[in-house]
Symmetry: C2
Subunit: 462 residues, 2 copies
């Protein structure tokens, strides 16, 4: 039994899978400021129409353009690993597989959609993309994609990350990305904040506002905005992970998968691996599908399914999703990519349908898992990914207790070589867990009072 199962480039999936086509209940539409469903046209200043078409598509399969595949080949198909050393350390009868998304040049799953988004924008005649980044994984991926495809890229990076993570910024600049600390003097939103709070560390909400403003105010109309998670077309582009995994499991002679695991912040790496398996589950397969989130930001495990804004500044449409409230400020856990108040509507809807079994974990358990991983499988994991590892270890231990030969597959969404300060804090015993008190959750949920309820929204199709 090999450690890695490769897939030749000629066998790469040539279509993305769209879960929207198969959800038992159709997705609720996004709502505009007036509470009415927004139309695709209303998104046109923000995104190119070819991506908006994907955003609203109900087609089950969408062709992947050959030119996108040609770029993805730099790391795709990504290898599927059998975690033999971890299995041995746990003495589990489970067979554990993981997709290694850390082999991409920026080191995570993010470029799967960054490349697609950059390519569709280029096709549409766009010259420049703007985006925001917190910890920097998405900003790196978009800078990389724009470099290869020939677009300018401007990244508004939350100021405190900009100051604390110079290496992430340097990655973006090496690919030619223009990375500026947010709030900046370049936008009205940024200037207004700086006037009031010149010393603010910034926030993702502010950075999103600046990135959208910078896109929609380009007088030549040659700039658009790109988002690294949450939206339907982002989930779509990530499904290549799960589609590859299915072919690789077949090569490994695995007939049945029992457990599918991914960490979930906005939802994209989880969706990428799991959606093709969610489809099987809709069709009757017995699979446990686990999105893993931090207990300090428990979107799927404790937040309601509601309409809420995607950003703090309420610039985005209302999205139907599990949300802790757009005012929610999660504690400073090291898994920055999991510190998002909402969750992708497609992931949220699948959870509402009972297709998922979400799990919330504390970060110390996750770092313990990541350490065991480093000393068995060998790779140093991103702090986000460590949540998926910890859940995998729990499931493998349960398989041992039950004496069952379960097949577990996990998305190893990225390496942690740019995030070693979290490991340092853990090794030095300086790490804390942050359970979310009920009263704090109740307080942040006040922000969604008065917004429309999904149960009241007009019917699904856009």
């Amino acid at each position: 039994m090999p450690t890695k199962i490769f897939l030749d480039e000629k066998d790469i999936p040539r279509q993305w899978y769209n879960l929207a086509a198969d959800l038992p209940t159709p997705l609720q539409p996004p709502l505009g400021p007036d509470g009415n469903p927004i139309t695709p046209d209303m998104l046109a200043p923000v995104f190119p129409m070819n991506l908006i078409e994907q955003e609203v598509s109900q087609e089950r399969w969408i062709d992947i353009p050959e030119e996108i595949l040609e770029i993805l080949y730099r790391w795709r198909p990504s290898p599927l690993y059998r975690a033999k050393a971890l299995e041995k350390a746990l003495d589990t009868p489970a067979r554990i597989y993981y997709k290694n998304e850390g082999v991409s040049p920026p080191g995570s799953h993010k470029p799967n959609t960054a490349v697609a988004q950059a390519w569709y924008n280029k096709q549409f005649g766009i010259k420049r993309l703007t985006t925001e980044t917190g910890a920097g994984q998405w900003g790196s991926a978009l800078s990389f994609a724009c470099a290869l495809i020939g677009l300018e890229c401007k990244v508004f990076m939350v100021r405190i990350s900009f100051d604390q993570k110079p290496f992430r910024r340097l990655m973006m600049e090496t690919w030619g990305g223009h990375c500026i600390p947010s709030p900046s003097e370049e936008t009205n939103a940024g200037r207004a904040i700086l006037e009031k709070m010149p010393d603010t560390p910034g926030s993702l909400g502010i950075a999103i506002s600046e990135a959208i403003e910078a896109a929609v105010t380009d007088p030549k109309g040659e700039t658009r905005y790109a988002l690294g998670s949450v939206l339907n077309h982002v989930m779509l582009h990530q499904t290549i992970i799960g589609l590859e995994a299915k072919k690789q499991l077949e090569k490994a002679n695995e007939k049945k998968v029992d457990v599918v695991i991914g960490c979930a912040g906005g939802g994209s790496n989880f969706a990428g691996l799991s959606f093709p398996f969610v489809a099987d589950k809709i069709n009757g397969a017995d699979i446990k599908i686990i999105p893993v989130e931090p207990t300090s930001c428990p979107t799927l495990t404790r937040a309601p399914f509601c309409y809420d804004h995607g950003d703090t500044a309420k610039m985005t449409p209302l999205l139907p999703m599990h949300s802790l409230g757009h005012d929610f400020v999660p504690p400073a856990i090291h898994a920055g990519g999991l510190r998002y108040h909402g969750m992708a509507p497609l992931v949220s809807q699948a959870a509402v349908e009972g297709l998922l079994e979400p799990m919330a974990l504390h970060q110390i358990e996750c770092y313990e898992a990541a350490l065991l991983w480093a000393k068995t499988e060998g790779f140093i994991s991103a702090p986000e990914t460590s949540h998926a590892i910890a859940a995998t270890i729990r499931e493998a231990k349960q398989a041992k207790e039950e004496g069952k030969e379960k097949v577990i597959i996990m998305n190893w969404s990225g390496h942690g070589l740019m995030d070693l300060t979290g490991y340092q804090a853990f090794l030095e015993g300086r790490l804390h867990d942050y359970p979310l008190p009920d009263e704090e959750l109740a307080k942040s949920l006040k922000g969604i009072e008065g917004l429309p309820k999904p149960s009241e929204a007009k019917s699904g199709k856009w």
Copy 2:
């Protein structure tokens, strides 16, 4: 034509190739303090006997133990890439291939030998390895290997790197390595230096002295020392790179290779890719084999072939090699791994035989090449690796001038995600080239005056 050529694990090479068996003139022996060839026994306090046997072996092929392969499978066989985007950017008729050694958990070729050395030490009953590290790539690789194999690992890291590169240290500690700044209070060598120069930034020479002392003074005899380059057994372990590459080129239907390129500091990644092709050249094949070094540390291009110590403190035996003199202090170029005064005896001897065509390049040209690489092939390269890229670009341009469809293969020895400050200096225009003035070279070569000459040494076999 695919971008990547995979090799299944079942097709991995099962023997290392030993160039010592095929060199037209046998290697000269290392000499002890008395000028006489040292015996294997004299090395026993420093290395385990099974590795010493490899060091002196004249066997052409040496079996790779299955348990070593089982660990290498985490990233081996490494993919062979066709650099299609770079070819297009250069508009060259050359077909450019590269081995991606950056896919290993520590991100470079170094674990190829770290795993083997740790395994042989473990077999020999050793409990603990010591080593030194400058920039940190080797210390990371050995920490990784020791974690997986179950040895303690102590790394003496040059103090200035220890202070300036906390992420490298954190990598080692994540794998359980014990990393301490050198000079330290733990050894006589370290204490003596600290007494004289309490504020010294340290040097590789001092760190080697400390690591060897820490190994040989273990009262229980359970500790040995490990070196990441230069020695024959290190070159041996790296040949898996070139042996894989040959199989992959065959899969790509390439019948003939014209140019083989690797950067060369101590020589190990260059040897790893090139030695199997050097064997072809010895047998009459027409191949241009290029080790690439910095003009600021021009060991193969400007230094004599002589007997010299491997370290500044003259603790090692005298090795027959190209050397700038053990007192040589190279300028602070960013490619720390290429700042070594000597060169592996096997590489040096191959150069003496006329089998290699060494090239020296300035670092600004190398960073320009690395930027083009990042924007075409997508990967961010280690500053050492950028030297191989720059040479590849020169050769590809020459192929265009000559109108020849040459096949070029290069070793992409590692990623640069831990080395982004060099990119920053380059992007900000703060980078300098450092040609080596004749008089400075003459001065440092004074240090080898009076040492035995290779032409006078007793015959080759140990």
